[in-house]
């Protein structure tokens, strides 16, 4: 609720006497009209402010940004890395965006990803005598189901016992992440490994590569498909229509006879499923095994991506790519210029702040 109401500002027109101010404001307003324009402006401002910080630390910001760019796009391998990094952010971010749109504040993507990863691993290592082409989707499906179960659990507790969904989803993050460790120290762990990890998954069920000879797996294709599906779901179906009504006003939903409980449950299951899919993709496409802490930070980034996209499902794709490639380039920046990679988090954070400010500047909530 709080996050949404922050975006929400009262549509107060300035008093008519200051005509020049009005003109300037309307020009500025038109400049900021498009979501894309506003996001770009926010990114530019964030880069500008971060440049000052880099200057203060005694490094050349231009060199740093050049290294960042090169790190992100410098070679086919780098680009593949960026896409792979973006994929879970896009998948989980889509679910978060849908939830936020319905005014259900789900910040449990991290736990849902973790549990999704467990599900996918469990199926992958189950030793089922199935061809890889069948077992792989089955493992991903297990990820979806487990992620959905995790978010469904949060929704159930929240709806049944009246615990705020922020608390439920947040607290289940810790449980989900620790559940991965528990599994790796037990059933799913690799005996004799020095690190809490599962055995390597059979090669036949690794996600196929999109471009031969690179690490780029088909996860990004799944992310694109999911984005389009969520866009259609939100804007073109009765389910999305109900979500939009409910997100805009619970009273209106009550008036029309929409069951907030059922809608909340459904949107949470969808979000958890998407996050669980992200967990499965990480396991089958990047690590080829379950590793302790593989989901660290993903939940936060999913929220960031959703907000950066101003909760517009279609915009989650570029927002996720932005965050993914930014992180991909960060290490290169640190290596080559000596700027700490943590500055990338500063850029991320500032971008979100500026995006939220730009949303406020428009003087009204984004259309639902």
């Amino acid at each position: 609720m709080t996050i949404l109401s922050n975006i929400d500002t009262v549509n107060n027109e300035p008093p008519p006497r200051k005509v020049t101010f009005m003109k300037a404001a309307s020009v500025l307003r038109r400049l900021l009209a498009g979501t894309a324009t506003r996001a770009t402006l926010a990114v530019a401002l964030a880069l500008l402010v971060t440049a000052v910080l880099i200057l203060i630390s005694g490094k050349n910001p231009l060199l740093a940004y050049a290294a960042l760019l090169k790190g992100a796009f410098g070679s086919i391998d780098r680009i593949a890395f960026g896409f792979n990094k973006s994929t879970p952010y896009i998948l989980a971010g889509l679910g978060v965006a849908l939830c936020f749109r319905a005014n259900v504040i789900n910040i449990g993507a991290e736990g849902q990803i973790a549990v999704g990863g467990i599900g996918a691993t469990a199926v992958a290592l189950s030793g089922l005598a199935l061809p890889g082409l069948l077992l792989m989707p089955l493992a991903l499906l297990a990820g979806v189901v487990c992620g959905a179960a995790w978010s469904g659990l949060a929704a159930f507790v929240s709806l049944k016992r009246g615990v705020h969904e922020v608390l439920c989803t947040l607290l289940l993050n810790f449980v989900g992440v620790l559940l991965v460790s528990e599994m790796l120290h037990g059933k799913l762990g690799e005996p004799g490994a020095g690190f809490p990890q599962s055995p390597l998954l059979p090669r036949a069920i690794w996600l196929p590569k999109l471009v031969a000879g690179t690490d780029l797996h088909i996860g990004i294709v799944l992310a694109v498909i999911a984005t389009v599906a969520c866009h259609i779901l939100f804007w073109r179906t009765t389910f999305g229509f109900r979500l939009r009504i409910m997100g805009a006003s619970r009273d209106a939903a009550r008036y029309v006879g929409i069951s907030s409980i059922r809608q909340t449950m459904r949107v949470m299951l969808i979000a958890g499923g998407l996050a669980g899919l992200a967990g499965g993709v990480e396991v089958l496409g990047v690590h080829y095994r379950l590793i302790e802490g593989f989901s660290a930070g993903f939940g936060f980034n999913a929220v960031g991506v959703a907000l950066l996209a101003s909760l517009n499902p279609l915009a989650v794709l570029p927002a996720g790519l932005f965050i993914g490639f930014l992180e991909a380039g960060a290490l290169a920046m640190q290596r080559e210029v000596g700027v700490p990679s943590s500055l990338v988090f500063v850029i991320q954070g500032l971008t979100m702040v500026f995006v939220l400010c730009a949303l406020g500047l428009r003087g009204e909530r984004s259309k639902v």
Partner: protein
């Protein structure tokens, strides 16, 4: 002690106060009477500095008071007891009194404050324990804490905004006694109320507001309840909008002994009435006397805890909103901003709120956008909705055009029964006229209508039969030809004997 002269205040195009004078002398209780929206609350907010006046002067204790906020008003010696208390439940009485109290020292002095509370409590018979937790106190006792808070901050003039609306009869008695003692100690009180009996019992002078202007001022001796009621309501009724005399048809809605109890509080006492096709049942009453609960029980937003509702032979007591809509129930709630409209959604989406999940607006869960647009075009023409486009957000439309969207959606599907709760609230005269016309057209077409309003004028203009709602009870509906305006006014103002009499 207080002189207010020529106070004017407009909210947008609505003139809430149009040149009001008010005088209050020390040791006097002045009653401020008026219907909802007559400008009482605005006037008091201006006095207390919550909002600022467009024109007019205020003098308090021979000093001008202007451009002040609540803090300055309190410092000058004004105290306001709001309808909704400003107390922290998890704190004690003493702590609440100290909270935000002006003082030069940064240190709190709980012991001294507690002893002062005891002292004032004894003086005015407030019976307050300074160590009690607010959360443990009943409503009436909390009100007394608010009073002692105001007194300890040096309030010489107390504004009580409908202080008796949530009190039980013995608590009202107690409050009136406290007010009398405050008056005898030389303090002045402005007493805002709808309830004529209380006003007559305690006030020395009554100021009646109507439509943002003073409708009359009189000494309380010699004033009669009937006279005050008429002054409050307005003597002359405007010429009614032409309405055809249609013979009412068969019964379409029957409500039998419907009651609602929520969390142990009785919201609706058993209510029974029938409604015929082509008939308007107008329900008068001051806001907050169960009208919303009644409307929501009928519309399916709340489920009654006893009794039944029958719509055209179907028992809909426990039916969902969707099932009721299918059977021809329509509902215009009072709140446009958050309930009957989703202001962030487009005009065409808002027109589809009721049936977006049925063909032809959607098939297999997939929305048919072209049909949304087509129907929106047709509806906006039929109901003269002025919008620069049908894809723009409903919030950008004027209040009148927003209400036309609701009308188009609710009346456009020819409902058998429509519940309209204050449908012209906040609308300008033109839009009001349009809404009334549409409701009368629905009546002429054989629709049964329940029209709920706190404006007696609307109720008298529209109702074929008129009933009054008070304290969660509904009087027996009276035919418009035999209705007595004064009697209705008295019933609205809480004259129990008449409601009992009517219901017996």
């Amino acid at each position: 002690m207080l002189e207010m002269r020529g106070i004017k205040k407009a909210y947008g195009t609505v003139q809430a106060n149009r040149g009001i004078d008010l005088d209050v002398a020390a040791g006097q209780i002045v009653g401020l009477l008026g219907e909802n929206g007559s400008g009482k609350s605005t006037l008091m907010k201006l006095l207390f500095g919550v909002v600022s006046a467009d024109a007019g002067t205020i003098r308090f204790k021979d000093k001008p008071l202007s451009g002040h906020g609540p803090a300055q008003a309190m410092a000058a010696g004004l105290g306001m007891i709001h309808q909704h208390f400003t107390l922290v439940e998890a704190m004690s009485v003493t702590e609440n009194v100290m909270l935000g109290a002006p003082g030069s020292s940064p240190w709190l002095s709980p012991r001294e404050t507690a002893s002062r509370i005891r002292q004032e409590s004894a003086t005015y018979g407030l019976d307050i324990d300074p160590d009690a937790m607010i959360g443990d106190l009943p409503h009436g006792r909390r009100q007394r804490v608010e009073i002692v808070k105001a007194i300890l901050r040096g309030a010489d003039l107390l504004i009580l905004d409908e202080p008796t609306s949530n009190l039980s009869p013995p608590e009202v008695e107690g409050l009136l006694g406290i007010m009398a003692r405050l008056r005898d100690q030389g303090r002045a009180i402005v007493f805002i109320s709808h309830k004529l009996d209380e006003v007559i019992a305690i006030c020395s002078e009554v100021v009646v507001l109507r439509d943002g202007a003073v409708a009359g001022t009189c000494r309380v001796e010699g004033a009669t309840r009937a006279g005050l009621a008429r002054m409050m309501v307005g003597r002359d009724m405007p010429p009614p909008i032409a309405r055809e005399a249609t013979a009412a048809g068969r019964n379409v809605l029957h409500v039998g002994q419907m009651a609602l109890t929520e969390r142990g509080v009785e919201r609706l006492a058993p209510i029974s009435f029938s409604l015929r096709a082509g008939e308007i049942l107008a329900i008068a009453g001051i806001d907050g006397n169960g009208q919303t609960e009644l409307a929501e029980c009928l519309a399916g937003l709340r489920l009654p805890t006893a009794g039944g509702i029958d719509l055209d032979g179907h028992d809909i007591t426990l039916a969902s909103v969707g099932e009721r809509t299918e059977l021809g129930m329509a509902y215009i709630p009072v709140d446009r901003a958050t309930m009957s409209l989703v202001t962030g959604m487009s005009v065409s989406d808002n027109l589809a709120l009721r049936d977006f999940d049925k063909p032809p607006l959607s098939r297999g869960g997939y929305l048919a956008r072209s049909y949304f647009a087509e129907r929106a075009r047709e509806m906006s023409q039929r109901f003269a909705i002025k919008a620069s486009g049908l894809d723009i957000a409903a919030r950008t439309l004027s209040g009148g055009n927003q209400q036309k969207i609701v009308l188009a959606r609710e009346i456009g599907r020819h409902p058998a029964v429509m519940i309209a709760h204050q449908p012209v609230w906040g609308l300008d005269p033109g839009a009001t006229h349009f809404v009334i016309e549409q409701i009368l057209a629905l009546r002429a077409a054989g629709g049964a209508i329940i029209y709920i309003s706190s404006s007696l004028e609307e109720v008298m203009t529209l109702g074929d039969r008129i009933a009054v709602m008070q304290g969660g009870r509904l009087s027996i509906p009276i035919d418009r030809d035999t209705v007595d305006l004064t009697q209705i006014g008295l019933m609205m103002a809480g004259d129990d004997s008449l409601i009992h009499g009517a219901a017996a």
